[in-house]
């Protein structure tokens, strides 16, 4: 019997790492395709409101973003503690600037996509509606009528 176990002190074969690059590449491609680069850094405090009946924003390339909220602490010295509008990286001085911003963004878009533009409003949940209404009026004037109230899924309802 012992015959068969002659080579008792067997070494464990090294695990082949040949497939490691493939696995990593797979992961890499997954992240590459799902990634969308962050375009702006938020200068305002943002806590999105909660809602349940959400729909997904289908085409992100058609979406332009407007952020509204109270400036972050480091910007409060220069911008105050009232809710402000952030367009790209800068604060808007007044709500009417939204109109110009939208028309600039629209001009930069593809001709076919121009009337499909969606304006996504990312508004802090404690913001008063006054400033939001001003923005909405400005959007109406600029004929940017497809809007999107961005919100997060409501957790533990009931």
């Amino acid at each position: 019997m012992a015959k068969f176990r002659k080579e008792g002190g067997k070494k464990l074969p090294a695990i082949s790492t040949a497939s490691l690059p493939d696995i990593i590449f797979m992961l890499l491609f997954f992240f590459m395709t799902t990634t969308s680069m962050k375009e702006t850094t938020l200068n305002i405090q943002m806590k999105l409101p909660e809602a349940t009946e959400l729909t997904k924003l289908e085409k992100k390339s058609l979406a332009k973003y407007i952020y509204i909220g109270v400036p972050k602490v480091q910007f409060q010295k220069t911008n105050g503690t009232e809710a402000r509008i952030q367009l790209d990286d800068a604060f808007a001085k007044q709500p009417t600037e939204v109109g110009e911003y939208i028309s600039i963004k629209r001009d930069a878009m593809n001709e076919n996509d121009k009337n499909k533009m969606i304006v996504s409003l990312k508004v802090d949940k404690d913001t008063k509606m006054g400033i939001v209404t001003d923005v909405k009026q400005a959007l109406r004037k600029a004929y940017a009528l497809n809007i999107y109230y961005t919100a997060t899924e409501e957790t533990n309802k009931y």
């Binding site: 990593i24 009946e53 508004v123 008063k128």
Partner: protein, 199 residues
């Protein structure tokens, strides 16, 4: 002739390189998909349109006011947000053909079996104060959308035996025709802040 062997490229660093790329994308990724409530704003108001506004019959309007304390008033009655959905559903569907609820009209929807009685003219008018918080406003919007969604889902199950989301595009459109979504966001007004002005 001497046969030269082609040297294999050393691929052991491939994993490292792709790891590096992977980590880069991991860091820059923001996976959070945007979700929210989609809305279409009315085009800018002209003077002629303002006059036509008044013509809507009283029974077809559900007026929702949200004040600066985030309190609701629906057609002159105080109401809790949680009850808004049922109220809205009753208003949109008008199941008992109530005199005070929206008028129904015949609409031909082939997929739903020909003529249907639809409250075509109903309008849910949402008005808010400048001091209303965004969360409260969105909560109201959300309840209204939920009311429509539940009605449509019920109709879809009733008619097609499937959830609204599982219907085909045509069937969905048919159900949408049966319960058209009409939420109007009125011109902004000041309630309780500035005297006068508000109707």
């Amino acid at each position: 002739m001497k046969k030269r062997q082609i040297q294999e490229i050393n691929a052991s660093s491939m994993a490292d390189i792709s790891f590096l790329l992977l980590i880069f994308f991991l860091v820059t990724t923001s996976m959070a998909t945007d979700k929210g409530l989609s809305r279409t704003l009315p085009p800018p108001a002209t003077n002629e349109e303002k006059k036509e506004d008044v013509e809507v019959n009283q029974r077809n309007i559900m007026l929702i006011l949200v004040n600066s304390n985030d309190r609701l008033m629906v057609n002159g009655e105080m109401m809790d947000v949680n009850k808004l959905k049922d109220k809205a559903k009753e208003f949109i569907a008008n199941p008992r053909n109530d005199e005070n609820l929206p008028m129904k009209e015949k609409v031909n929807i082939p997929l739903l079996g020909g003529d249907c009685m639809v409250t075509t003219k109903h309008v849910i008018s949402l008005q808010n104060d400048r001091g209303t918080s965004y969360q409260a406003y969105l909560k109201v919007q959300n309840e209204l959308v939920a009311a429509y969604n539940e009605l449509r889902d019920a109709k879809a199950r009733d008619r097609f035996g499937r959830a609204f989301a599982d219907l085909t595009k045509d069937e969905q459109d048919a159900v949408k025709d049966f319960y058209p979504q009409k939420i109007s966001e009125a011109e902004p007004k000041n309630y309780g802040q500035v005297t006068g002005g508000a109707q």
